[in-house]
């Protein structure tokens, strides 16, 4: 018995250690979970289906290619209906299931959970939605816009107008949905107007934007040289139709990023020729990542949605968001080691340097101070059948945008 005990103790210890080591190894290779808790049934339905499909398909591609050093990725997908309460519930469940990164694709839900994710020290990405001031990494250490905020989008569009026909002395109309999102670009446009000596005026229309006739009569009376349209979903195609019906040249219309192939079909592909939009990510299936998705995910029937969506504007934005997130995970695994958690993943994001998703998006560099990645984008024009880039990837008026970011971030910090 004593011998047994003597043999047994080291054996048991060895077995225990082996088991523990095996457990650690197993834990090391557990899938990295991302919570894609989005609005599939309410306000963001115009984008969520394609965007989320792109996200899931990219994660499937990464897994099909062996993951990152053997680490696989798992998407936890749930509907929040654009309701902060449902978002909180879905977030808590996904947290319990081990998610370390979240994307709500909903400004109300993202805003509602900013404080919680920072308290829980998990990563929240807010590409093309959410708080613009989240670009201030020191105030929002766990929130990463990773793509151009609406302020940066307005700046890039204004810079394009300046370089193609000039801004001085022009009249610019900002026709927008009457919501915080619609009004968001105004301070930056006013700042640029002061710097470049042009006039800008806002023209709000009521949500959801299915009827805008009175607004556009007023716009026509203003006789603008340039029109910015700042809405989303069906309201965008109504804006373009109303502009054309009021004799406004489609080539003078410049849209926020939320303008896609579906809007062109609603307006009429030919009628919309000339309309320009801000572009955060290249469209089409020619880029290496999307080509590989087609080959390894879509053709074998593993896509999370309709194959016809692959390569569309919103699908590709979804792909790019996950390409950035997976790159952050790769950098975090390299420098911090497995298993990943929120703080390690945050560190990974802040190590991203000149990452362009194999030519799919502008090269972004994320630092502890700048979580936006520089605010890059380009302008694309509808040519009757597709979006065609008419500028290079660029960033514009960084000092005016930065001033807005700092002012809003300071207000947030002051309120907390």
């Amino acid at each position: 018995m004593t011998i047994l005990k003597r043999i047994g103790r080291p054996a048991a210890l060895a077995l225990g250690l082996a088991g523990a080591a095996g457990g650690v190894a197993a834990q090391d290779k557990e899938p990295i979970k991302f919570g894609l808790l989005q609005d599939f049934t309410a306000v963001y339905t115009f984008v969520t289906g394609e965007y989320n499909q792109g996200q899931q398909d990219y994660l499937t591609l990464v897994n099909e290619e062996g993951g990152i050093d053997g680490h696989m990725f798992e998407a936890i997908v749930r509907d929040t209906g654009n309701e902060p309460q449902r978002g909180i519930e879905a977030y808590n469940r996904a947290r319990e299931e081990g998610a370390i990164l979240f994307d709500f694709l909903s400004t109300p839900v993202s805003r509602g959970l900013v404080d919680q994710v920072m308290k829980d020290e998990v990563v929240l990405i807010t590409p093309l939605h959410g708080r613009g001031d989240a670009a201030a990494g020191e105030t929002f250490p766990f929130v990463f816009p990773v793509m151009a905020t609406y302020w940066s989008q307005a700046a890039v569009l204004a810079d394009h107008i300046k370089s193609t026909g000039g801004l001085e002395g022009k009249k610019v109309a900002l026709v927008h949905i009457d919501s915080p999102f619609g009004r968001e670009p105004m301070p930056v446009l006013e700042g640029i107007a002061e710097a470049e000596n042009f006039e800008v005026r806002g023209f709000p229309y009521p949500s959801p934007g299915n009827e805008q006739s009175a607004t556009w009569s007023e716009v026509r009376r203003y006789r603008p040289d340039v029109v910015f349209i700042w809405g989303a979903g069906g309201g965008q195609s109504v804006s373009v139709q109303q502009a054309i019906r009021n004799g406004i040249d489609p080539a003078s219309i410049h849209s926020v990023v939320w303008m896609a192939e579906t809007d062109a079909r609603n307006v009429g592909a030919d009628a919309m020729t000339g309309v320009k939009r801000f572009e955060a990510v290249a469209t089409g299936t020619e880029t290496p990542i999307v080509s590989r998705i087609v080959e390894k995910v879509v053709e074998p029937g593993k896509s999370a949605g309709d194959a016809a969506n692959v390569g569309s504007s919103y699908y590709n934005i979804g792909v790019a968001t996950m390409a950035v997130a997976v790159e952050a995970a790769r950098l975090a695994l390299e420098s911090e080691g497995a298993p990943l958690d929120g703080p390690k993943l945050k560190a990974g994001f802040e190590m991203i340097e000149n990452f362009d998703a194999e030519g799919m998006m502008p090269p972004i560099t994320i630092t502890p101070e700048d979580h936006q990645g520089g605010g890059y984008g380009r302008v694309a024009q509808w040519n009757g059948s597709a979006w065609e880039p008419v500028s290079d990837w660029t960033t514009a008026y960084p000092e005016i945008v930065q001033e807005e970011i700092e002012m809003n971030a300071a207000e947030y910090a002051g309120g907390n």
């Binding site: 049934t41 339905t45 609603n266």
Partner: protein, 292 residues
């Protein structure tokens, strides 16, 4: 002056298109005495159906006709499967039922057919109709004409023998049963006709904005129209629609620039509140006075 006239004309045309969405509400109330809060979702569903039939390759006018037949059948089904079970229940339960239908359809239909906006091309060009410096929206002009025709057809329908029966059923279910009228059939018929009206509204609004869930938000202006015009008056739909459309166009046309925000929904809300306070039965609605 041209600006004012433009706001007035386009507002009137938009109002007529709201009236089209409101028509189904009034048809059901006038026939069955039920306030149908699912009318916005029925408009959305009708537009989705027509879009889907068109995507199968049917010419748009055939798709509209088939869609109207299907929506008529859906109306009958609603009566048979849902409303018939509510006989004898308080009206508030029927209202809740229609509200539940609204929420269900708003989630279910985009879930089945896809949530991204769908194009519905009626072949109406984008070029404006310009008369003496007044720009009129061609789609609204055609929509307004269709609305007037459908409203007129509805008014004529209620003068027919069948329409008279429907009005009798609305007045008193028990008395109608007593004289041998089929209340169930009358209610089913009214839902079916409201389904056809929903096709008119859904197709016209869908051609303007694309087909997506936001079509169901037409319920709000439609309710303003029926409250102002009178919940049981087809003539009221016409007048209420014109008033809601004109006020919702002219007032924001001058006020928005002053306040820096969109005031149309505020105007619509004020119309609802003032009507309820000043003339609860609306301009043409019937005022029922009961001896207590």
């Amino acid at each position: 002056m041209a600006y004012f006239i433009e706001l007035l004309v386009n507002g009137a045309l938009v109002g007529l298109m709201y009236a089209l969405a409101a028509l189904g509400f009034v048809l059901i109330y006038k026939s069955a005495g039920v306030p149908n809060l699912a009318q916005g979702a029925l408009v959305m569903m009708a537009a989705y159906l027509v879009w889907y039939l068109g995507s199968l390759g049917l010419p748009i006018w055939i798709a509209i006709a088939v869609g109207a037949a299907l929506m008529f059948g859906f109306g009958l089904l609603v009566e048979r499967l849902l409303l018939r079970r509510m006989v004898g229940q308080p009206v508030i339960m029927v209202v809740m039922l229609t509200l539940g239908m609204e929420i269900l359809l708003r989630g279910l239909i985009p879930g089945v057919f896809g949530a991204a906006p769908k194009p519905l091309d009626l072949g109406i060009g984008l070029a404006p109709v310009i008369v003496a410096d007044v720009f009129m929206n061609r789609a609204y002009l055609i929509g307004g004409l269709v609305a007037v025709l459908l409203i007129a057809a509805s008014m004529l329908f209620f003068r027919t023998r069948l329409g008279t029966k429907l009005r009798a059923v609305s007045d008193d279910h028990v008395a109608s049963w007593a004289v041998g009228l089929s209340v169930e059939r009358a209610i089913g018929l009214s839902w079916g006709i409201a389904g056809i009206a929903a096709v008119g509204a859904g197709v016209l609004w869908g051609s303007v904005q694309g087909v997506d869930w936001t079509l169901s938000t037409l319920l709000f202006p439609a309710i303003a129209v029926v409250i102002l015009g009178g919940v049981d008056s087809i003539k009221g739909v016409l007048v209420g629609g014109l008033a809601v459309g004109i006020l919702g166009s002219v007032i924001p046309g001058y006020l928005d620039a002053m306040v820096g925000g969109s005031t149309r929904d505020v105007v619509t809300s004020v119309i609802i509140l003032l009507t309820i306070l000043v003339r609860p039965h609306g301009i043409f609605g019937r005022e029922d006075i009961e001896r207590i």
